[in-house]
Amino acid sequence: MKMVIAIIKPFKLDEVREALSQIGVQGITVTEVKGFGRQKGHTELYRGAEYVVDFLPKLKIEAAIADELVDAAIDAIEDAARTGKIGDGKIFVLSLEQSIRIRTGETGDAAL
């Protein structure tokens, strides 16, 4: 099992969710985050005070995925979230030790 973490542009959420659904990934967790890489921030101006804001709003999607689906999931996320412009985001893959469904107690792949 793997935990796939993707940082994407917020407006891409629906497309990514659709794409993952189509390859068989049924559940994801989404968090609102801020971050920056190479994309430039913006300047805010309040009366005489000017602030440069580096952080941009992004979404973090986390999905626990069975090994057989990981490659397909990565492709799906990449294609759905890509705009071609700086700031599209990144995908990380972590090894997942255990997964449990709280309602039934199922573990492993059955819990995904």
Partner: protein, 447 residues
């Protein structure tokens, strides 16, 4: 190209307004001269009373929630409740003190700086007692109307020392400053004291309210010191939405402040009313035009701030100048107060959180001085008897200087007493956590 168009527009607007001011007819000085021959016994006017009651309520709305939200939106969310609490409690406190001893010391008796104690605890006033100052309304109504002015003046100050002052210090300072700065200033200008004798013109409180409070705010901002992170961290407003709501309530309420200062439901109230519309609009426009010229964008905060600057500027002049003069005053107030909150603020090296001095101080000083100019009959105003512009402007300047000096000294001493008794500033840890949770045990917004 847009910049050039904007500056031309601004310049043309100013020129056109000036031309129209010169073209306008002024009024005769205070028209009740017709009453000279016959001694008229004052009687209650239902119309005047209804208007003054309404004006009083409008000014209350200016403070709660107008000013509270205007300032509240400008601070960080962890300090929102502290600002709301300070304004709300100051309103409650000062109006009560006004009834007990403020009214009598400001409006009872004929001293140079203070009145007398003859109306302490409002004794001797009955529901049907008519006001000696405004002869057609009940005394209680006049007391109530004036109480709101006292309250809003003190409440204005909190914007300067927000986000780091101890709540107890706010209370101690407010009582002292109200007693030794607001009351004598009100007496000197409106209660028949020194400045009134001198012929200073202040229709609704440019000196008594705005310059008075602004100086107290500036002194406080210096004595409290800068907020942690000022100049390094971003300390942006947490809700310009609420600031706009507050500014709008201030504008609408200000009709009670200015037009209510006519003391009656009459033509002067009408004049003050129209001036409060056009001066404000002009200032909002000229502020954002200047913003767009200098930084490329017109902002919501700019429009709201410009409006408040215009309102402050027209306050001393509301029932004394003509509408075209008001427009010119507003057009000047916008960019000047924009400088007040940016260039001047940097020069002064002060952390005046809500720009109390930049808007109320600069706007108030400008308005006080320009009142002496635009009240001229030739410029569409209502000039007093024996008017001479040069002399009047000098009288205005003197009243401004006296206000600054008086308020400055009283503020300094009051803050010092607060510092020695309860301490002025919260601890560093409390300031970092936020005043809402550390001073008041509450959180404004649950996650």
């Amino acid at each position: 190209m847009t910049k050039k168009l904007l500056s031309m527009g601004l310049g043309a607007g100013l020129l056109a307004a000036c031309a129209s001011v010169l073209a306008q007819d002024g009024g005769a000085a205070a028209a009740p001269a017709a009453a000279a021959a016959v001694e008229v016994v004052p009687t209650l006017s239902a119309g005047d009373t209804a208007w003054m009651l309404t004006s009083t309520m409008l000014v209350i709305l200016m403070v709660i929630p107008g000013l509270a939200l205007f300032y509240g939106g400008l601070v960080r969310s962890k300090n929102m409740l502290s600002v709301l609490a300070q304004v709300f409690v100051i309103f409650s406190l000062i109006t009560v003190l006004w009834a007990i001893y403020g009214f009598t010391l400001a409006f009872g008796g004929e001293g140079k700086f203070f009145g007398g104690f003859d109306k302490l605890f409002l004794m001797g006033i009955a529901p049907d007692t008519l006001s000696s100052a405004l002869k057609t309304i009940p005394e209680y109504v006049f007391v109530a109307f004036q109480s709101t002015f006292a309250a809003i003046t003190v409440a204005l100050i909190v914007g300067a020392f927000a986000e780091r002052i101890k709540f107890a210090a706010v209370i101690v300072f407010s009582v002292l400053w109200f007693t030794f700065s607001y009351i004598p200033m009100a007496h000197m200008v409106w209660g028949g004291g020194l400045l009134a004798e001198d012929g200073a013109l202040d229709f609704a409180g440019g000196t008594v309210v705005h310059i008075n409070a602004a100086v107290a705010g500036l002194v406080g901002a210096y004595m409290l010191g800068k907020r942690i992170g000022f100049g390094k961290e971003a300390l942006p407003p947490h809700s310009l939405t609420l600031t706009m709501v507050g500014a709008s309530l201030l504008w609408v309420g200000w009709f009670g402040f200015n037009a209510g200062s006519a003391g009656a439901a009459n033509g002067i109230a009408g004049l003050a009313f129209i001036n409060t519309i056009v001066a404000t609009g002009a200032a909002a426009l000229s502020w954002i035009a200047a913003e767009a010229l200098h930084r490329g964008k017109a902002s919501m905060l700019g429009a709201a701030s410009g409006a408040v600057a215009g309102l402050v500027c027209i306050t001393p002049a509301a029932g004394l100048v003509g509408p075209m003069g008001s427009i010119v005053m507003g057009l000047i107030a916008g960019p000047l107060c924009l400088w007040g909150v940016s260039g001047l603020k940097r020069m002064l090296k002060v952390d005046d959180v809500c720009d109390v001095f930049g808007v109320h101080g600069v706007g108030g000083i400008l308005g006080a001085i320009l009142t002496g100019v635009f009240c001229a009959k030739g410029l569409g105003g209502i000039e007093p008897e024996g008017f001479n512009m040069g002399h009047q402007v000098w009288v205005q300047v003197k009243s401004v200087l006296l206000t600054i000096a008086w308020s400055g000294v009283v503020s300094l001493v009051s803050y010092k007493i607060a510092a020695l008794t309860v301490g002025l500033r919260v601890s560093e840890e409390s300031e970092r956590q936020g005043l809402d949770i550390t001073s008041h045990g509450e959180v404004a917004y649950t996650r």
